[in-house]
Symmetry: C2
Subunit: 820 residues, 2 copies
């Protein structure tokens, strides 16, 4: 993941031709090209868009889901466009903030980067639901870039209540920070200048670069090399900022596989302070040899001491198009009949057959015995709230907290790279889903929005909801007299975020609901890996192409699961299966090697950092110890890895992430839920990883976990050592992990018995089938039009943006922005 | 899993009214009711069957798969009916065997229990495939029951070549045994007498039983109690056989949930020797109190010392029918619209659209770039051979070896129960699959056969083959200029075995093939659990109903995966991701906390017993170290847990299984493949677990694993502590595990790029969609008839049997036999 790009660079170059100016454009958080690109985009309104007359919903099923009536307004909903404009206008009215409109701002101004909903405190929400309090006031949070100083910072504020009235205020959001301050030092305020500086460094050794890797990086449209490096930046001392940079080849085709084209030449910059005249090149690395100055590097080159290494160049191998059989890399492939349409799932009932209800306005969903609300944020994307099962809340909140992609390498760039993705945000990059591919064409699609750089952007059709036959039964039993079977129909809530052009681009998030009362959280990754130059990197990955190493890395995605079992007074039960050697009243004094179940509770947060047990012999359940079922077993929900086993970070005490990786040291965490600890990580942590706004380690202060509001935090992901099969893209099928949250002594029987999609056939060898019981189920019949399974590919379109300050809601425009 | 049953018992009672007779019917291996029931079944030929005029294939799609032409005859195929008859006739001609026809035999005769294919040695097969040897001769293996002695035994023979000629011979199959002998002592030859004995014991305390649990077990049709106990039998000394027994209530409804109805009264028998007059009741257990004689038990009862405990009686709760919302156990369920037909997968192309080829005669399949043969055996069911990918063999053999279900309990029956399922066999119980439920109606169905008790039985439609859209993409990448997506279509080979009425009844075996070259082995379990009486069993499971404990147990299913990478000279690579603290040429002398990849090979079988690593930091691959790819990385296939994480048995040195559980001590094993070590377990082991025919531990003799024919053995399964959600049946959705066998540096790119089911959409914020590339793919269109997704439920029918001795192929009859 990275922030610079040829397009961005071009924009920067246009606006800021000289480094002499103190006013340079800022590369804002989110580190996107938003602000820079917007200036050129206003002229393209939707009305002028080619193809705008096409039906967006394609030729797929046009059925809309029956309407649900949400019992409460969605109080976790993202800000509406009007709310965002309201908040932004309010902040611009605060003289103390000295704000510049984002569209006009530079790195030396103060400006608003992000506004989003400040989620209400659970305490207030539950009081409201219980009728014991009025509806919680609605608040926004706003992130403001303070650039008018030698020591720039980013700060998060609470703004509200909204809508803005005379009683609305703003205040630093310190209470949700473990360090007591929502202020984060900004050491990367002048990234645009750093990029410019890099071009100058490159120009100073153009002859060497031409010789070694043959390309140019000057910030012009004809560049075939790009320069970027570590993330987060490095601090050899608290007041020093250094960054290793390297060269990447810019693909000439549409395929943005630049991260497959590292060139193997590295240099280190001291970028301390805001004045580039104080910056310096600290050294160079080539062929695993370090040169402590540009002069030393040049001298070695002139002396002929630099070896010619394997080159790493663009080719068809970085493209994701159909390659076809019997190419050089597809020898002996036939793929007979792969051109024919494969099986496809269809909705038998058409418009009248949809078996779930949606309140689109409130993003509220009812499917079988589940109901829930959907929320969406710039930082972490899709999030579910108030998941109820058979009328009882089982999960208050379920969603992503943070995603680490921690690399390693013999080279300084891969070694120094450990992305904290909420910094970039999952919300801005949850692009439109392609009906018929990302989700069935019969799915219900919802839009999502985020508000950055004073522009509100709407991703059309970026969440989908659909039922799916999983392809295997949920229940089956047969003998020589009967057969009983029940279909395993699941309900999926899906979004896909493409956070940059590296490995888990795209990250697919599925929340899947099952008829047995289970919820599965699934993460899948596909897309281009961020690779390394092969030289001397053999201990950090496989060589996967000429000049290329599949740079090893860990993906570690933390989720919050605030499970509530019959209220918020819950405990975390630990039931472990242990081998034993025992004698029994009936064993004649002899011992038996057997096993038994040992039950205990996780006493306090001191024991709340948990690894999944060896051989999975430990079961963990959130239970309400005061609510036993009829047979004395406490009712609860179990949490256990589904696919992939759960994970934590391999690297211990990461030098890159310092105090910002404390949620990735274990597989699972249990803490006491507090209003002041809503998030385990923070999107601003990446600005200063040694001094994060939220250090998850501080959540652990030894409080009891018995009959209190327990919240779980679990990691999904994978240790990824890319091999040749990751070219051109990693595939979802092998890069996935999931967690299963399932009832455990919660009801008195398997709830899938309550669906009518069950059939029993009684038969007899002599008489044949005697009885068929179908329990009132209706069956598919008649014709369906398979053309509906194919989308209108030409209707695909980008995000819709609306300018916020000055507010210009009448002139939306297409504006799709990705990190490439 | 158990062998007695009311029906069986009734049959036994008819034939053997007195214990005085030395000639009693045998309960043969397989411990089914085959022989006993067959006598009553011959009169029901197919022609007379009600409903026989119905089309068997139902109303589903009638398309048959295009015909493949297998390059070789399936040399792993099961015996045909004629071959089985040929072998059986040959054995009956051997005077030394002194055989009685199975249909007339008793426990005191010699008779044939099973004939099956003796799989050819891999060495011979590969020589044949390579054109260096002629086709291997075909042989059968035959299991013979030797009952005419005080020390009965079971023995396995090699018979052939077949077809039988003058040069055909038979010989004890000693060479495939680790103990050097295919002879297994039979301590359960007189199980029918044991059952009869139990009825007498029960009758002797009928007054107490009536008082405590209110029922009768006399072997008559009006019985409402059943008696059975531990498995395998116990040997306090090598020459003594004892068995704990308990009472189970026989359901009056069709639902065979007898294993949910344990009654909590136990007695121990000494069943040493074949003369019931020498047998004895050793003691009783009730309410966790042991009585060392029937008299002592009676005295306690008469003294009023026996407490009245919770009863465990039949009710709707053991039925699997639709229960409906708002029953006492389904409170607050609505399941809105569950009667409407859910989404269903359809084949767009109809007859012309099937994208795989099948050679039905040879059970040979071609799908995309995979080809393979299917085999089937009485012991372990479905098995795949010679799986080739893009023309190269990657797996020689893939299939189930053995399945343990190891229970534990405070009571002697659950404590003493540890099933070895190949003893019962997966082949006999792989019943017909219900099209539209077990598999799509558009699947290709294959029949399977097994030959037991001189009857050949054919399971109609017991294997299915189908393509399935997994519901998520295999590849996805997008940015602000384009979107590239590829469908994740998988190919599934499925069978379901219902081995008894306990927990993984039904066990579903899926072998799933993916477009990235991966193969996933998936095991799922649904059905009735074998439970325990609740009293004093709290440390061995949850109380899940009045009087009922969900008896804790481990399912441990061993699979063989004989992976071949470019020949049989292979090594097992271990690549481990380890945290490191390192300095680098560029790190200015400072250390960095990072990670690296350590590569090694598993040197020998001494290191061949392997646990999946903590945090999954170790990757294991079978590679050909002499066949590096273009970039120097050895080509290989990785093996890693998919769902559920892989597992091994919790109990160490199981007192129940003794030397017959050595394949369940670790997650994964690697050995040198040998012709004399074809199987890690043996169906006859259960007869004498201390002296198994195959003790897997003996495979480990320190041989090198480097560049030799490595074979892997891996365990799947689950630790199952049943909770209320396992009532009435455990559900597949939470009871599943899988192993993924996937290419690792095997090809030079992701092979899913070679399917045409890829779409690329190029778009632009200003111009909209500019290009749609579909790579020659055809798209679904036009109408399809959804009625085809529904099967003809009335066409379901049982197994077809053919009597073998005397051979009577003209009179097949319906005969479905389950272990209930």
């Amino acid at each position: 993941m990275r922030f610079s790009s040829p397009w961005f660079v071009a924009s920067v170059a246009l606006v800021c031709a000289t480094l002499a100016s103190a006013k340079v454009p800022r590369v804002a958080y989110p580190k996107s090209k938003q602000a820079a690109r917007i200036r050129n985009k206003f002229k393209h309104s939707l009305a002028h868009r080619h193809g705008a007359e096409r039906s967006f919903t394609g030729t797929g099923w046009q059925a809309s889901a029956p309407v649900a009536d949400a019992p409460f307004t969605n109080i976790w909903a993202g800000l509406s466009d009007d709310e965002a404009a309201d908040v932004i206008a309010f902040l611009h009215n605060q003289p103390a903030l000295n704000l510049t409109a984002a569209g006009n701002s530079t790195a030396w101004d103060n400006s608003i980067t992000v506004v989003d909903t400040l989620l209400p405190n659970k305490t207030d929400v539950l009081a409201y639901f219980a009728g014991k309090a009025s509806k919680p006031d609605r608040y926004a949070r706003a992130t403001i870039w303070f650039g008018t100083t030698e020591n720039p910072w980013i700060q998060e504020f609470q703004v509200g209540p909204i809508p803005i009235t005379n009683s609305s205020t703003y205040a630093s959001l310190d209470w949700a920070s473990t360090k007591g301050s929502a202020v984060q030092r900004n050491y990367i305020a002048d990234d645009a200048l750093v990029t410019e500086y890099c071009y100058n460094v490159s120009a100073s050794v153009q002859d060497i670069i031409t010789d070694l890797i043959n390309g140019t990086a000057m910030g012009g449209a004809s560049d075939d090399l790009d320069i970027w490096g570590i993330d987060p930046v490095w601090h050899p001392t608290p007041e020093t900022t250094t960054q290793w940079m390297t060269f990447w080849r810019i693909p000439s085709s549409i395929f943005d596989g630049e991260t497959l084209l590292p060139q193997g030449l590295y240099f280190e910059l001291n970028t301390t302070g805001r004045d580039p005249s104080g910056w310096a090149v600290l050294g160079w690395l080539y062929a695993d040899t370090y040169y402590n100055s540009t002069n030393a590097f040049r001298a070695a080159w002139e002396a002929g001491e630099l070896p010619k290494l394997e080159s790493n160049v663009e080719g068809d191998w970085i493209g994701t198009d159909y390659m076809g059989p019997n190419t050089d890399v597809g020898a002996n492939s036939t793929m007979w009949a792969s051109e024919k349409p494969p099986p496809v799932q269809v909705p038998p009932g058409g418009e009248d057959g949809i078996r779930y209800k949606v309140d689109v306005e409130n993003k509220y969903v009812e499917w079988m015995d589940f109901t829930f609300y959907i929320s969406y944020s710039r930082d972490t994307g899709l999030r579910l709230f108030d998941i109820r099962y058979r009328g009882e809340r089982i999960v208050y909140e379920l969603g992503l907290e943070e995603a680490i992609a921690h690399y390693a390498g013999n080279d300084p760039v891969q070694s120094g790279t450990a992305y904290l993705d909420s910094f970039y945000g999952f919300g801005p990059y949850a692009f439109q889903l392609l009906a018929g591919y990302d989700c069935p064409t019969y799915a219900t699609f919802l839009n999502t929005s985020f508000h950055a750089d004073e522009v509100s952007t709407t991703h059309l059709n970026s969440i989908c909801l659909f039922e799916y036959d999983t392809g295997y039964l949920i229940q089956r039993h047969s003998n020589d007299r009967y057969l009983a079977v029940t279909k395993n129909i699941a309900f999926v809530v899906r979004s896909v975020s493409t956070v940059g052009n590296y490995d888990y681009n795209s990250t697919q998030f599925d929340y899947t609901f099952y008829l047995d009362g289970s919820i599965e959280v699934i993460v899948r990754a596909s897309g281009y890996i961020q690779s390394a130059y092969y030289y001397a990197n053999g201990n950090y990955g496989y060589q996967i192409h000429s000049g290329l190493s599949g740079s090893m890395h860990d993906h570690c995605l933390l989720f919050k699961a605030d499970i509530d079992i019959l209220g918020t007074s819950n405990s975390l039960a630990n039931h472990t299966i242990v081998p034993v050697t025992e004698t029994y009243p009936w064993s004649h004094g002899a011992t038996r090697n057997s096993m038994r179940l040992e039950r205990s509770y996780v006493a306090s947060e001191d024991a709340g950092k948990i690894m999944w047990s060896e051989n999975a012999q430990t079961m963990l359940m959130v239970v309400n110890a005061d609510e036993p079922n009829s047979f004395g077993e406490p009712r609860g929900y179990r949490i256990a890895p589904g696919k992939g086993g759960g994970m934590h970070l391999t690297v211990t005490n990461s030098s890159n992430l310092l105090n910002s990786q404390s949620f990735a040291t274990h597989d699972l965490y249990a803490t006491v839920r507090k209003d002041a600890e809503p998030r385990a990580a923070h999107a601003l942590n990446n600005y200063d990883v040694a001094n994060p706004i939220i250090d998850f380690a501080d959540f652990f202060d030894g409080e009891t976990l018995e009959q209190t509001d327990v919240v779980l935090w679990f990691n999904l992901g994978m240790h990824h050592v890319p091999h040749t099969g990751d070219l051109p893209n990693t595939v979802f099928s092998t890069a996935q992990g999931s967690m299963l949250i399932s009832p455990h002594n919660y009801l008195l029987h398997d709830p899938s018995r309550d669906t009518r999609q069950t059939v029993r056939i009684d038969y007899d060898d002599t008489k044949g089938v005697e009885t068929v019981k179908t329990f009132g189920a209706e069956f598919s019949k008649g014709a369906t039009n398979l053309t509906n399974t194919v989308p209108d590919f030409w209707a695909y379109r980008g995000d819709i943006a609306v300018r916020k300050f000055p507010y210009d809601p009448q002139h939306p425009f297409n504006n799709t922005v990705s990190i490439v």
